[in-house]
C-alpha cells in the first residue's frame, strides 16, 4: 500500500510529532426478511482513508475517499492544519501519547467458511424457512430475520514505523417472533449478537429449531400473567442478558475517556473515578471482569487497535475491586499510565478513533454449578433470559433493565412464565449482590454489534460473556 509511506513521509515533513493513516474498506452484506418479504438485500462498501496528525498536544483528523497521490497529500495537509487549530486552544491542556513501539504485522479473523462464498440464494432460502416456521404458529403475526455479514480490510501505517494489514470479519443472525393475543403483543428473539467467525457458525445453530422455540415462547409470553408490583426479589440472569447489563454498567463505566470527562457533553461520564482504582468495591468477591482483546471469536479481537497497539488481556475488576480501565494512548497518560490497553477504535475510515469497551467478560465461578442447580437453590425469584429494555444514567450509576423471557421461581422450580418484568438497581449495589456464578461449562459469549458512542456517533463492536449468575435483593416488578 504505497499511500502509507507517502502520507507518513508528508506528515513528518509537516512537523508531526506523531501521525498515522488508516486505509479501510468496510463491506456490509445485509439481508432483512420480515413476514417472507425481503425488506433489505444489500451490499454496502465504504472505502477511504483517515489521517491523524498530532502536534503540540493536539489532534487533527482528515479523511478522504479519493485515492491519488495528490488527494493523500492534500488530506495530510488538512489534518496538519486542523491539528494546528486545535493546538492553539490546547496551550494549557496539551494531550500526551503513551509510549508505543512499532510493529510490522498481519492479522486475519480465522474463518472456515467465508460468508461471501455462500450463495445468496442459499442464505435467503434458510431465512425464508425460518420465517415460515415461525409464521406457522397461530398467533405469531410477525416473523423477522436479520442477517449481517461484515468485513473490514485495513492497512495501517504510523510515523513510529508501524505497518499493519488487518482483515477482520464478523457475522450476526437475529430472529424474532412477535405474537398478538387479547390486545397485547410480545416478542421473543434468538439473539446471541455477533461473532468474529464464518458461515460455519450459522450452520451449527440449527436456526429452524431455534425458530420453533422462540415462536412457542413468544406465544407463552403473550399469554403469561404480568409480574405485578415491584418487590425485592432474587434474580437469576442468563449469559445473553448479562452481556447487556455488564456492557452498560461495567463496560462503559470503565472506559477511561468517560472517566476523564471527555464524553461529558454526550454519552456521559463515569462514577468509577481514578481515586477508586485498586480500592473500590465494585462487586462481591466472586466478581471478576476481564478485558480481553485476544478472545477467540471476539468482536474486538482485531490484532491491533487504531492506535497500532496490540490486543491485550487484563483485569478490569479483580475479586470485586476496581482494578484498571480500558485505555488509549491519549487517555492513558492523563492518569499517569505509561501504556495503553489498546482500546482505540474507529468504525469507518472517516471516523477518528475513540476509547471503546474491549471484549469484556465476567469470569465463571470456580466451583461446579449449573443453571439448573442454581435455580434449585433459589426459593423465590425471577429467571430472566435474553435482552429487553435498557437505560442507565449518564454517570453509569442508576439503571433499569427488562429482558426477553421470564420465569417466576418458587421453591427451587420454574413455577410460571411471566411478562412485563423490569428491574431497577445501581452501581455498586448490583454487582455486590452477586452471590453465585455458574462454572465455565456454562460460560457463553454475547457479541455487541451496535455500541453507539461519540460525536459524530460511531457504532462499535465488542464481545461480552458470562455464565448464568444470581443476584439477591434486587427491586423487580412489572411495568405500568
Amino acid at each position: 500500500m504505497k499511500y502509507l509511506d507517502l502520507a507518513m513521509n508528508a506528515a513528518e515533513r509537516l512537523g508531526a510529532e506523531y501521525a498515522d493513516i488508516r486505509v479501510q474498506k468496510t463491506t456490509d452484506e445485509v439481508i432483512y426478511l420480515q413476514n417472507l418479504s425481503l425488506k433489505n438485500t444489500s451490499n454496502e462498501v465504504l472505502y477511504g482513508y483517515g489521517i491523524r496528525f498530532f502536534r503540540d498536544g493536539a489532534w487533527g483528523f482528515a479523511h478522504s475517499n479519493v485515492f491519488s497521490d495528490e488527494a493523500v497529500l492534500k488530506t495530510v495537509s488538512r489534518a496538519s492544519e486542523i491539528a494546528a487549530l486545535s493546538a492553539s486552544v490546547n496551550k494549557d491542556k496539551k494531550l500526551r501519547l503513551a509510549p508505543e513501539r512499532s510493529y510490522i504485522a498481519k492479522y486475519e479473523t480465522p474463518v472456515k467458511i467465508d460468508p461471501r462464498d455462500v450463495p445468496m440464494k442459499e442464505k435467503v432460502e434458510l431465512m425464508l424457512e425460518v420465517n415460515r416456521t415461525m409464521l406457522a404458529f397461530e398467533g405469531v403475526k410477525r416473523a423477522m430475520f436479520y442477517l449481517v455479514m461484515h468485513r473490514d480490510e485495513k492497512f495501517f501505517g504510523s510515523t513510529l514505523g508501524t505497518r499493519l494489514e488487518l482483515n477482520t470479519q464478523w457475522i450476526t443472525p437475529m430472529i424474532t417472533a412477535t405474537a398478538v393475543y387479547e390486545g397485547d403483543s410480545q416478542s421473543r428473539s434468538f439473539n446471541e449478537g455477533g461473532k468474529a467467525t464464518g458461515w460455519e457458525w450459522i450452520e451449527s445453530l440449527n436456526l429452524t429449531e431455534k425458530a420453533k422455540q422462540i415462536a412457542e415462547e413468544a406465544l407463552i409470553k403473550v399469554k403469561a400473567e404480568p409480574l405485578g408490583p415491584e418487590a425485592r426479589r432474587t434474580l437469576i440472569l442468563d449469559p445473553v442478558h448479562l452481556g447487556l447489563t455488564m456492557h452498560e454498567s461495567v463496560g462503559h463505566a470503565t472506559e477511561l475517556d468517560r472517566v476523564l470527562g471527555w464524553e461529558a457533553d454526550y454519552a456521559g461520564i463515569s462514577f468509577a473515578t481514578p481515586e477508586k482504582l485498586k480500592n473500590y468495591r465494585y462487586g462481591s468477591e466472586i466478581v471478576n471482569f476481564v478485558g480481553d482483546n485476544t478472545l477467540n471469536e471476539g468482536l474486538a479481537t482485531l490484532g491491533f487497535d487504531d492506535d497500532g497497539v496490540p490486543g491485550q488481556k487484563w483485569h478490569i475488576i479483580k475479586d470485586g475491586i476496581l482494578n484498571e480501565y480500558g485505555s488509549t494512548r491519549d487517555t492513558a497518560m492523563e492518569i499517569g499510565l505509561e501504556y495503553s490497553r489498546g482500546c482505540n477504535r474507529a468504525t469507518y475510515y472517516s471516523d477518528q478513533p475513540i476509547n471503546r469497551i474491549p471484549n469484556l467478560y465476567l469470569l465463571p465461578g470456580t466451583r461446579e454449578l449449573s443453571p439448573a442447580e442454581l435455580i434449585a437453590d433459589t426459593e423465590d425469584g425471577i429467571y430472566i433470559q435474553g435482552q429487553g429494555s435498557f437505560s442507565i444514567d449518564q454517570h453509569r450509576v442508576n439503571f433499569q433493565f427488562g429482558g426477553d423471557f421470564f420465569w417466576e421461581i418458587k421453591n427451587g422450580k420454574l413455577f410460571r412464565p411471566v411478562k412485563k418484568v423490569i428491574y431497577k438497581s445501581c452501581n455498586p449495589e448490583f454487582w455486590n449482590s452477586c452471590d453465585a456464578i455458574c462454572d465455565e461449562r456454562y460460560w457463553r459469549p454475547f457479541g455487541v454489534i451496535n455500541c453507539g458512542k461519540g460525536q459524530p456517533s460511531q457504532s462499535a463492536r465488542m464481545t461480552h460473556g458470562a455464565a448464568t449468575a444470581r443476584f439477591r435483593n434486587i427491586r423487580v416488578g412489572g411495568s405500568q
Binding site: 451490499n43 403483543s185 442508576n398
Partner: protein, 426 residues
Amino acid sequence: MNKQFEQIEKYIRSHCQADDYSLSISASDNHQTRFAQNGITQHIAGPRLDITLEVAFGQRTGSCSVNQDDEATLAYLVKTAEDIARLNRPDPEYLPSTGAQTLPDVNNSDPSTRELEPAEMVEIVQQAIDKAKAYGATVSGMTEKHVYEYCLFTKNGFAGSDSLTQFGHSMTLKKENVETKVSHEAKDFASFSLEQEFGRLLSQAESLLTMKDFDACKIPVILRPGAIGELLLYMGWMMNRRQSDEGFTPYTGQLGQPFFGEKFSLRSTLKEPRLYARPFDHEGIVSREISWVENGILQNMPTNRHWAKEKNAQPQMLFNYFVPGGEASEEEMMKLVPRGLIINRFWYIRTVDAKAGEFTGMTRDGVLYFEDGKVKNAVNNLRFNEIPHDATRRILALGKQELPFLYAYIPTMLIDNFNFVDKTTF
C-alpha cells in the same frame, strides 16, 4: 442540480439493465470540533458521499451502496445490485418505484453556515473555554458544521434534490457537583450567539447550586422543549400505520379517536422556516402539510407506499414535529400547581412495553423543585416510566414554541402526575 449527481445519474441511466431502479445520492462536507474539560479532544474534517442503487427485475430486488463515483465503482454498483436481484427471491410486497412528482418549494440551506470557516469555529470553542475558566468551571461540547446535498432519481421518472446546512454548538458546564447543558441547532450560523448561549448556560448552572435529595413520585412537571422533543421522537417512531394495524403499538384501532389529550396537537409543516423540512423521503413520498393529531384526535399515521396501497390510503411521512404552543411562561405554570419539577432534558429513553407505549428514561442536566409558585432548589436526577400519549391527557398548560432540534418546533409543557419511579445519586 449538483453536476456530480447528474453525471452519476447519467451513468446509471445508461448502464442499469434492471426493469426498475431507484438511485439516491447524498454528499456532505463536514467539520466537527469536539472539546472536553477545556481542551480540544477530537477535530475532524472531510467529505462524505453515499450512492445507493436499488434495482428490481420483476419482483426480485437488490441494493448496493458505494462511496466513490469513479466509473469502475459505478460499474461495481450496478453489477452488484443487479446480481443480488437476479439471485433473489421475489418480494411479495415489492412496489414499482415512484414516478414524477411535483415537489414543494423548501429552503433548508443558508449561506452563513456554508461560509463558516474552521478558524471561526475554533474561535467559538476558545471563547467558550475562556468563559468557563473565568467562572471556575470546565466546559465540554461540540461545534459542528455540515453542508448536505442529496437527490433521488427513479427509472419511472422521479427526480428531486435538496440541500441542507446545519450549524450546531453544544456546551456542558461542570463546576463541582453542578452539571448542565445547552445546545443550539439551526440551519443558519447567523442566528447563533455565544454570549446568549453561555448566558443561558450560566443561568442554568446558578439555579442548580443548592441541591436537595428528592424521592421519586408522581408529580407535576414543567418539561422544557429539549425534554419534550426527546419524548416526542420516541412516540412518533411508534406512530406507524402498519405496525398499528397489525396490533403491535398502542395506536391500534385509534385512528379518528380522541387518543391524546385535547390540548395536544402534532403536525408536520413546510411553512415554519426554522424547521428542517425535507421535500421528499427515500421512497419519493412528497412532504405536505399534515396534521397527525389535532386537539387530541389521532388523524393520521405515517404510512409507507406499500401499506398505503394495501389500505387504500395516502402514503405520508412524519418529516418534522410542529406542536402548537400557548402563552404560559414557566412562572405562570409554577402557579398552576402546588409543587412540581422543572426538567431540562431527558436521557437514555428506551421502550419498556411497546404495546402499551411505555418508555423509561432519566432526567439530565438539571432538575429544579418548585413550590408555591417559586423555584426552591435543585434536586437529584430521577428515572421515569411513563406513557407519553397518556401524559398528553394530563397537559395543564403550554408555553411558547422553541426549536430544541432542527426537526422540532415545540412548546414547554406543564404535565400533571408525571411518573418518576427511581432516583440516582447525583
